[in-house]
Every structure is written in structure tokens, then in C-alpha cells.
């Protein structure tokens, strides 16, 4: 039941040690920096210290309630991340797999469009371009609302 924001890498195995003990199902998702066909060498991720932690905690608690989770964990990195590095992870634990899968997707949809992170793509020449929000991410979120 914890959300964390950090610049350091995380160790997925360490994050999951003991996680979900007693539950029937654990689902994890890890997001990595894409190379975009060689167009990218790194991502720079900016966030809103203070608000970010509160938002992730709130979305985690909403997911726990909605899907009756036994446990959840969110780790999201900020700063400069090279291609292939892990950006973030979510883990959910529930009695059965459907709830664990759904809760992981729910958390991903919320934090892609509502957690205060901004990505900038860094190309081989060092130039940075802010990533635009995608309409598909907003659409993905809307399926959980109403």
C-alpha cells in the first residue's frame, strides 16, 4: 500500500519480496524507455514534488477500494533515464486474477493522464522535445468513469 517517486533505479524482485503473501494473484507492470527506432537516447521526466506523491497515493487507494485489493505498489522515476531503463512499475494483489489485472490497468490509465509527470524525449543530437499527451490515453481513462 505504498507509492514512491525517485530518481534511482528500482529492483523489481526486491519490490515484490513478500508482496501479496496470502493473496491468490499478483499482477505487475513495468514501463521501459522505448528507443522509438533509434530516434531516442533518453527520456527526461519532470514531476511536481508533493502533488505527485499525493496523487499516486490517492489513485492507489481508489484502486484498492474499487477492486478489493489486498495490496498495491507504485514506483515512478524522474530525471534522465536512458533507453531500456525502467520508468515505473505498478503491482496489485487480489484474491483472483481478474481484479488484479483490472486494478493494474486502472492504475496505469490514471497515472498516464492524471499524475503530474511530463516526459521530454532526448534525441541523438541532445535536443529535447516535450511529449504531447495522447488522446488514446484520455479515452482509456474514460472507460473507468461514470
Amino acid at each position: 500500500m505504498a507509492a514512491r517517486v525517485q530518481s534511482a533505479p528500482f529492483d523489481l524482485a526486491a519490490e515484490l519480496a513478500g508482496f501479496g503473501a496470502g493473496s491468490g494473484a499478483v499482477v505487475t507492470f513495468t514501463g521501459l524507455v522505448r528507443d522509438e527506432g533509434g530516434r531516442l537516447v533518453a527520456l527526461e521526466i519532470e514531476h511536481y514534488p508533493g502533488m505527485t506523491e499525493k496523487a499516486l497515493q490517492a489513485y492507489g487507494e481508489q484502486a484498492a477500494q474499487r477492486f478489493a485489493l489486498d495490496g498495491w505498489r507504485i514506483v515512478h522515476r524522474h530525471g534522465r533515464l536512458a533507453v531500456g531503463e525502467p520508468i515505473m512499475m505498478v503491482a496489485t494483489a487480489a484474491r483472483h486474477r481478474a481484479a488484479a489485472f483490472q486494478a493494474a490497468e486502472y492504475l496505469m490509465d490514471w497515472l498516464k493522464s492524471r499524475a503530474p509527470f511530463w516526459k521530454r524525449e532526448i534525441g541523438p543530437d541532445g535536443a529535447g522535445v516535450w511529449v504531447d499527451a495522447r488522446a488514446e490515453d484520455e479515452d482509456a481513462l474514460s472507460r473507468w468513469q461514470g
Binding site: H47, G50, L111, A115, W118
Partner: protein
């Protein structure tokens, strides 16, 4: 009242600073935007297209009509791209 106004991502770059303290009588976020946009050309440019701007009041997402009474911190930023 005095507000801490924060900017992130390309809004921070266009305005040229991450935060500033603003003395204001603005009743709503929309009133504050009008005051900021009138300060100089950089604020005006950054806040010109409000469809590309999101707002948080005291670290909670808010809309342009959100009241500012009692608020301490207002942040402006582009649509979020986490995950």
C-alpha cells in the same frame, strides 16, 4: 493575498522560471490567468492557449473556475504524460 505560482515542463521554459510569488486579488484561477498574462509577453505566450494548460490548486487538479479563496499554491502545466 500572496500566492506561490508554479510552472512545469514547457510552461516553465516559456515563462523562464519554475515559481514566483504573486500578490493578487483574483477570485478564480481564470482571474489569476488574466493577471499573469498581462505581466509580460512570456507569461502571455505561455498562457495563450488554455486548452493546452492544466491547473492544480493546492496540489489538487482544478479547473479555470476554481475559487482561490484560502489557496496558497497554484500550478500551471501541460497535460500530463506519466507512465
Amino acid at each position: 493575498m500572496a500566492l506561490d505560482v508554479l510552472y512545469f515542463a514547457w510552461l516553465r521554459e516559456r515563462i523562464g522560471q519554475p515559481r514566483e510569488r504573486i500578490e493578487t486579488e483574483a477570485a478564480t484561477v481564470r482571474d489569476l490567468v488574466a493577471q499573469l498574462a498581462a505581466m509580460d509577453e512570456w507569461h502571455a505566450a505561455a498562457l495563450a492557449d488554455l486548452s493546452a494548460v492544466r491547473v492544480a490548486v493546492d496540489q489538487e487538479l482544478a479547473d479555470l473556475d476554481a475559487p482561490l479563496e484560502g489557496a496558497r499554491e497554484v500550478a500551471f502545466f501541460p497535460p500530463m504524460t506519466g507512465g
